[in-house]
Every structure is written in structure tokens, then in C-alpha cells.
Amino acid sequence: MPQVGMAKAINMALFEEMERDESVVVLGEDVGKKGGVFLVTEGLYERFGPGRVIDTPLNEGGIIGFAMGMAMGGLRPVAEIQFVDFIWLGADELLNHVAKLRYRSAGRYTAPLVVRAPYGSNVRGGLYHSQSPEAIFAHSQGLFVVIPATPYDAKGLLKSAIRSDDPVVFLEPKLLYRAPREEVPEDDYTVPLGKAKVVKDGDDVTVIAYGSMVHRALEAAQSVRHSVEVIDLRTLVPLDVETVMASVRKTGRPIVLHEAPRTAGFGAEISALIAEKAIDYLQSPIFRVTGPDVPQSPLAHDEYYAPTVKRVVNAIERAMKY
């Protein structure tokens, strides 16, 4: 089995799905001949040709609109938005039309498309190449929201997303494209949507994270003396509420971790769910460790925007004071 990073694992998923199913097509800016700015679609053009790997104009509204039409017509398009920061040019298409089609047509039409987009900071991307807007998609209703944290999961989740009859926003932590690497089987396997993973067992504190923050949580968990459980949500919609609650009932001390800003971030939703469903088990307040409530940092502050391991450790220690 090859040791690969997340970019390669996603590439493998696309390859396999396009081999398996002729209706799967890829479209986006520079996804064809160039193979994508992060080389995630590398080799697809050569293998499947311009009919199934389509270089589009710089037009996010067009990319998502075309994909929706293709999906309604029976294809399973995988559209790439070069950076999720640019997706708002296609916001009406995505949030009003793609997301609502199945409901609006009372189930007569579906839009089984995937919109892939890299997100997140710590790659010196600056303001418009670093944001984490996952909560907006989760709030919009009608979209699945998937965020992998490992190469293995990225491949399995993308396959599930492509096969899903509902539209999926597939957010890729660009920080993890090259590392860490892990063995990713060349077999056809899937990872189900809506199922979180307990990455590390623990009894004292639960850290709930997704994407690149899962690795910060693990690092923090290793550097404290307490028994920390780390949960990788993997999909925000549908959310695996039961796995989260089971862990919180066990430890009584939840910490929610994400790099998006705090206010109305997805951590607020998780916090509220915990308060509703497991408050009797809380031994400490619910702590949120998030990005600050300011616009994404300029380059000089890139490494301070997303929560650091130290901030996660601090939250764990604060929780353990109770």
C-alpha cells in the first residue's frame, strides 16, 4: 500500500470513481491540463479526456450552475472551487438552487453533485485564501458538509459523497494536502457520511474537532497528563450527534475546536446540542477553542489565527480544574 498525503488520496478517489462510473465528471478552473493548483486532479485529463475533465472559465457561478444542470441531467459532477474563499460568486447557485432543488421539487429532481474546495489557514495564503466558512454551508440546509482529517478518510468520504444523491460540499484542509501521509488502500472502500470517529479514547475530557484541528487536538492530548478523548466529526451535516453525546456523557468536559471564528461558528451548534442533550453530565463548562472574531489574518499573523496546540492544552487544563 502506498503512503500518500490527502491530495493524492482524493486523486485516487476521483480516479476510481471515474473508472467505476461513467457519469462522474470533473470540472473547475485548471483542473484539466494543469491538474489543479494543488494537483488534486492530476492525470485525470490524460486518462479520461476533455469530455469528462473540463477546464472552465474563471466563473464560480458558472461552475456550480453547470454542475447542477449536469447533475439534474443524470451526471455526477465533481466541481472544484480553487479556494473556498471564492465560492460566494456561486452562492446563489449553491445555496438557493443546488441545496434546495430536492425539496423544491418534492423529490422529483436531485442534484447529486460534489463541490470540492480547499479551506483553512496556516499555508501563508492571506485573507482570501485561508478562510473556514463551513458553518455557512451547514446553516444553509440542503447540503451535506464533509471535512476529512486524514488521507484514508478523504478517499473514503469523497467516494461516499460522489455516490450520494444529495449535494455535498467537500472541504479539504489544504494544510493537510501533503502531510501527514498514511497508507491508503487502492481498493474500493467508502467511509459513510454522518459517522464521526473516536480518534483517541479518553475519560477526562472530550475534544471535538474536524479537519486540520483534529491533529492539533491529538497533539494536545499527548502533551497533557489527563485522559483526553478526541473526536473527528468528519461530517458536519449530517452530524453524528450520538457519538459526541456518548463521549460527553462519559467525560463530562467538552471542548469544541475549530479554526473558523467563534461567533456563530459550528462550535456554537455543537455546544448548544451538548447543553440540550447532555447538560446533566457536564462537570465543566463547554469550552470553545476557535479562531478569533476578526477577519482572517494578514500573512504576518497566519500561524496565530487557527488555535495552536498550546491553546488546546490550556482549555484542557481549565476544564480539569472542575
Binding site: G252, I279, Q283, Y322
Partner: protein, 406 residues
Amino acid sequence: MYEFKFPDLGEGLVEGEIVKWHVSEGQHVREGDPLVDVMTEKATVTLPAPATGVVKRILAREGERVKVGQVLCIISEEGRPSGLVQAEATHGPRRGEPLGRASQVQVEAEHVRGSVRAMPAARRLARELGIDLSKVPGSGPGGVITLRDVKRYSEESARERVAPPKQREVEAEAPEERVPVRGLRRAIAEKMSKAKSSIPHAYHLEEIDMTQIMELRDRLRPRAEALGVRLTLTPFIVKAAVAALMDYPYMNATFDEEKGEIVVKRYYNIGLAVDTEDGLVVVVIKDADRKTILEIAREAAHLADKARGGKLELGDVRGSTFTISNIGPIGGIGGIPIVNYPETAIMAVGQARRRPVVVGDGVAIRSMAMVTVSFDHRVVDGAYVARFTNRFKELIEEPDLLVLRL
């Protein structure tokens, strides 16, 4: 909110021990009401409520040691408790007579939600176990009650519930019993350790003929009784000791280690050892040189009563310059006492026993008592103490001389 801190009671006192709370959490107190008994050194002081309000939290448990400045309890200064309690109080008059209303208010107060800060998991467990959270001490940030606190409380109270009957059942077989060193016992233990470890003790022993002083005491007894005073040997011993101290001032001194000075006191506060149920207490007759036998007798009896009733105030037990332990009434030829730190000397008087003794060239029956003086050898030497004791002996054996010194 009023944070009631353990006040500085003066005289260099830095800590005390909570003996008893007169109030419970949720209870309404009036400024000046007795709030808590705190034992300091050897006196138990009742601290009054500093404000009118509701006792929100009690932060020091009975038996706990507290430092000056430590918060003992929190009183909300509103004239009356909030929310539910206030409503009850207002509706009270329509419901019944004042007494019933008062107790109702108090019961309701204990159930006011939010008056106890506890984590949700702690609340759930308390609910399941039927534990009153207001009785659980909180150890979390800001005193919030954590799950651990409830578990600990539950275990402790279970142990307490189980312990007494168990103890009775196995009492016959139990080879030993462990009694926590608390309160007066702890104070005594600490003071004695300090005295014995920091003062190099030496001892002087003498036999004293008590016959005449006892006769004098017996003669004066009915007169004193007519004045409402029960006359014992103690005031005579005190007066004789004071007279001897005046002649030998270094016996009435303290040793200041830090400054390397001997502090000779020109006042004569005589400590008297009193045996109480809880243990030894030393009460102080202030300015014994300026008091009459009768006054000293009256004061000694009064202080002994206070000591046995646990009612001593700080002033009753502080500031002695020389201590006398009259163990005669209980028995024993004599004792070798530990100096009452930081004084220089202590005197123990044994039981006066009728014995044949050589008087002149003959043998007579006299009431003889052993007197022991333990002293700080840094301050005085054996010869000095012997001369002091000789003077004391002289005054006791020839009360006429004592009279000249009164």
C-alpha cells in the same frame, strides 16, 4: 455580597480553628448576631455577624483551621433574601403567626435555586443521592461544587452514617481507636512541642511546709464565704509567687531570641492551669500584684468556671508572665511542668500531705508539699531559681511575712 473574613483579633494572632457555626447557609442573620465560634490559642471567641443579610456560603468547615484574612462566609447584604424567599416573606403574614412564618422562610431559603453554584453533573448526582447541595463544600473555580465534591461528600457522610453503630458493635474487639487531634488538643500539642523544643528546660525542686498557710486559709474561710468567695490556697500561692517574682525579676521575663534580649516584665500576670473536659487551659489573673487575696480568689473561680463552660474570651488567656500549676487538689507528690511558652518559669505545687518531719531537734507532723520550678536556663540559672524558690518558701511557711508584702 459581604465576604466575612477572619478578623485580626490582635496580639499577633494569625490563625484559629472553626469550632461551631451558629448559622447555616441560606439563613438570615442580623448584624451582631452570633455567627461563628472560633478557637484561637486557648480561647474560643464568638464572632458576631458583620452585616444583616443572608448567609450565602459557608467556606470554612467546623474543625478547619483558618488564617486571619481568610473568607469564612459570604453574606448577601440585602436586607432579605432574593426571589422565592422574598415572596414567601411577603405572603407570610396572611398565612399564620410570626413564628410559623419565620421557620417557613428559613426552610424555603434552603431550596432557593441558584443560591448554590454547582456544575450540572454535580446537581444530577446530588439529586439522585438526595444530597442537599448547600451542605457540600465546593472546590472548583470560585467555589463551584464539582462532581468530585458531591462524590466526596457522599462518601464522607456515608462513612459518618455507618461509623457510629459499627464502632459500638466492634468496640469490645477493636484494639485501638483513632481520635483526630483537633481543637484544644491540637492547640495544646502544638504549644507544648514548641515550648519543649525551643526552651532549654532545667528544674528546681523544693519541699514546703504548708501547715501555717493552710491554717490561715482555714481561719479566713468563713469570713470569705460570708463575702461570697470560696477561699482556696491558690490566691495565697499567687501572692507569694508575685512577691518572690518582684525580688527575682528575671523569673518574670521572656527571652527574645530574634533581638537577643531578655524582656523583664514590670507587670505581674499570673497564669493558672485549669483542668477542663477538653484539656488544659491557662487562665490569667492580670496585675495580680495589685489585687487582694479575695479578689484573686473570686477571679480565679470565675475564670475556672468560664474555662470549664468553654466561655473564655481571648483576654482571659493571654498575656501571662508566670504560670502556676496547682495540682494539689487532684493529687500527686509533685509534677515537673513544661514552661508556658514564652515565659521563663512555671511552678507546680503538689499535694500538701501530713508527714512526720524534723523540726528543730524533734519530729513533728506537718503538711508538706513539693514545689517544682521549671525554668528557661537561657534566662536564669539554678542558683537564681533556688533563691527565688527560697523566698517563695519563706512567704508560704511564714504567712506573717507574706502579710507584710500584701
